[in-house]
Point group: C2
Chain length 453, copies 2
């Protein structure tokens, strides 16, 4: 084994196609349904929201989809992303396990999100779209789409969940640096926003509400479309460049992983690292164990129901079959804002149902403790979302220690925490507690799922 | 020419020795003087502040000083740092020039500062030191020493200029994540701090005051020493790994630079990129033009006097010959906190006197405009300090455009601006103005320089 701190690929070795797991699924993912007819939707139903190429990718069963040249050129601003061997974390844990992490925080926006923001902006611009709307919680996605929009001369309008808008002004400043406009949601710019505000003028907002606002504006104007940062098939496919690079980098290190770990909110960074490995297994090759780590306060994979549900609170989106806590479920206000979503990507839900992946949930305080241990060993201060993946990887490494095994563990460090330092301040001040949801509210949200036979 | 977006070196190609420009100076840099006797100081005079190895490096005339193995291992967490070709910035400017930038923001602390923090912590730990004190303004240096101290098990105490301590709580949270203690300066923990507070309880602090406090504590305890993040010879030498890597990377790109640009506060990132190129010239080889860019509101190189002066406000440090605005000069509160220092590194001042470098000063609003243009083209949001280097490089590129030349311009992008987004907010809100100093205050500060024959 060639023992390095980091494994770098030259630009020329960057994957030139994304991997589409739908090509290898013997049982296809359940279709997306029209909320009125409950019939599978066709490309025309999605046309008001997405450009044609994105819609085709959403349903494609081609195994490889070429990354357009202009997207490759922008990817090169930060890709290929480094794979690190966590030598110092291993020592700190006293484990025999070899721990590797893929670092996606090297992107301009500081997370994996530009991997899909850039192609989404590209395809929209190529089809003549002038403006994109979107939602953002903590701001990782809004920042990424703002960056991508600037590159392809698209006007970007971001609805940011109001509580984050107020608490994290730095993220907004980054979006503005990239030339985007950012509004607190619920806002007065949409009918749905005005309705929510009329009922509760001080509403703190939610991702589900922000999605409804962004979708409402997109369908109203021909020159405007909508972009989503997670959940959908094409988004997860764009993220597979992460796992495709990891496969090459582990070959450089002359190891094959025993366990892959990723955190899951909507499922995009997890799908990005996991799907290329699952694909090897689906095609008859060997496959590592794959562990999805989610927040205990918003546990769609471990406590949700696998059912058809809306993607938003205002019920403007189609229905997708997924692990869901119910579209009316409001996750408590924990600090990993990127994991505060009631549903899970249909493709991630599907491979969970096929028993190709495992899922586990951790509380936020133990995740922050894992993140601080990681920062002190490896230097990088992780995003609160990424702390869940770190916690999952550390637990696997400690299991190896107990069992006397020297397994190879790989996790996705999906972003840095530079814009989340108030969360760390609270952690150090002892003010961070484990948020929990109300069981009655969860039961009510689950009972309100749309009935689809 | 091999035309890439970024030029990466493998870990195995990382320089294994720093470059010491003192070996090549035919006219040696003027000696450091004892403030009482006005005689050159010896190693024993510095022993209360620094470990022996650092003191030897400060006066060494060896051309190459080996980077200790444990320091190389830590460097590999982020080094070699990438060199980028700014293709999109070139297009935005419509210039024929080729623009390259070295990106030091990939370090865990987000700037070039860990290049010296890590070896300083290593040498102190190796000589049995238990605790380091230091000062920080905006927080780049305090963060870096906190990171390095954690690695070598040193207790770190950071005196942060109070106005920054209050305005930039995120930086403090990062220092605490690395396990350091951070106090606002002036503080009640030192005699000098108490004296300042007695005169003015709401004193906003300054780097000069914070240095005095850190030095005072260091000299009181045998197990405690002091670390400085810029100005001194050994600090600039540790930073030469930047320029040494750039030389190798430009060879990969098959170009030789016409102009090197860096921003100057204390002089460390500038010396880091410039000295290896100046060394080539001093040894009879070719040498590019080298441009130091400083803030117009704190213009030590362009408006200061080349004279012996104190490094701190409390007059506890030795006297060094440098371009200085006077140790009693208080720079106005502009946003590039890392450039708010009354003096300049003696080695940078010396090469300026030898006409080996040029110096130019820009105002902060034009520097922010340059930084936003850069962010929109290249994706990275730069630190306010780095915006000065960007402004300098853009001016060179526009000169090339006017003159129809296709020169190669290389600048040091010394850090990202993730913890400086309030400055960008103010810029977009139109609230940022060009700060200027009081000419009478500057004259008074210069008239108060210590008299050294």
């Amino acid at each position: 084994m060639q023992d390095k701190t980091k494994y770098l690929l030259d630009e020329s070795e960057m994957p030139k196609a994304w991997y589409n797991i739908q090509a290898d699924l013997k049982v296809p993912v359940p279709p997306v349904l029209h909320p009125g007819t409950l019939k599978p939707i066709g490309p025309d139903d999605l046309a008001p929201l997405f450009p044609r190429e994105i819609i085709l990718q959403e349903v494609s069963t081609e195994r490889e989809i070429e990354i357009p040249g202009p997207v490759q050129e922008i990817y090169k601003l930060w890709r290929p992303a480094p794979l690190y061997r966590a030598h110092r974390l291993e020592k700190a844990l006293g484990t025999l396990a070899k721990i590797f992490y893929k670092y996606e925080g090297v992107s301009p926006a500081g997370s994996h999100k530009p991997n899909t923001a850039v192609p989404q902006a590209f395809y929209n611009a190529a089809e003549g779209v002038k403006r994109l709307t979107t939602e953002t919680g903590a701001g990782q996605w809004g920042t990424s789409l703002s960056f991508a929009g600037q590159i392809f001369n698209l006007e970007i309008l971001v609805f940011q969940v109001r509580v984050s808008y107020d608490q994290k002004p730095y993220r907004r400043a980054v979006m503005e640096t990239y030339g985007a406009r950012c509004l607190p949601s619920p806002s007065n710019e949409t009918e749905y926003g005005r309705k929510v505000l009329a009922e509760r003028p001080d509403h703190p907002g939610s991702l589900g509400i922000a999605i409804s606002e962004a979708v409402e504006l997109a369908v109203q104007r021909d020159d405007t479309k909508y972009a989503l940062g997670s959940v959908l098939n094409h988004v997860l496919m764009h993220q597979t460049i992460v796992g495709l690079e990891v496969i090459k980098q582990l070959e450089m290190a002359d190891v094959y992983p025993d366990v892959i770990v990723g955190c899951t909110g909507g499922g995009s960074n997890f799908g990005g690292i996991a799907f290329p490995f699952i694909g090897q297994g689906l095609r008859g090759g060997k496959m590592p164990r794959i562990v999805a780590v989610e927040p205990a306060a918003c546990p769609s994979l471990t406590r949700g129901k696998y059912a058809y549900d809306f993607g938003d609170t205002g019920h403007m989106t189609p229905l997708t079959k997924m692990h869901t806590l119910g579209s009316s479920f409001t996750p408590p206000g924990f600090h990993a804002g990127g994991l505060r979503y009631h549903g899970m990507a249909p493709l991630v839900s599907h491979v969970k149902e096929l028993n190709l992946i495992e899922a586990v949930a951790y509380n936020q305080v133990e995740c922050f403790a894992a993140g601080v241990l990681f920062a002190r060993a490896e230097g990088i201060v992780p995003a609160p979302e990424a702390n869940h993946a770190i916690k999952g990887a550390i637990e696997e490494a400690l299991r190896c220690k107990r069992e006397g095994r020297s397994e190879t563990i790989v996790f996705n460090l999906c972003g840095h925490g530079h814009f989340d330092m108030t969360s760390y301040q609270k952690y150090f001040a002892g003010e961070l507690t484990d948020e929990s949801y109300d069981e009655a509210e969860l039961a009510m949200a689950l009972s309100g799922l749309p009935s689809v036979s």
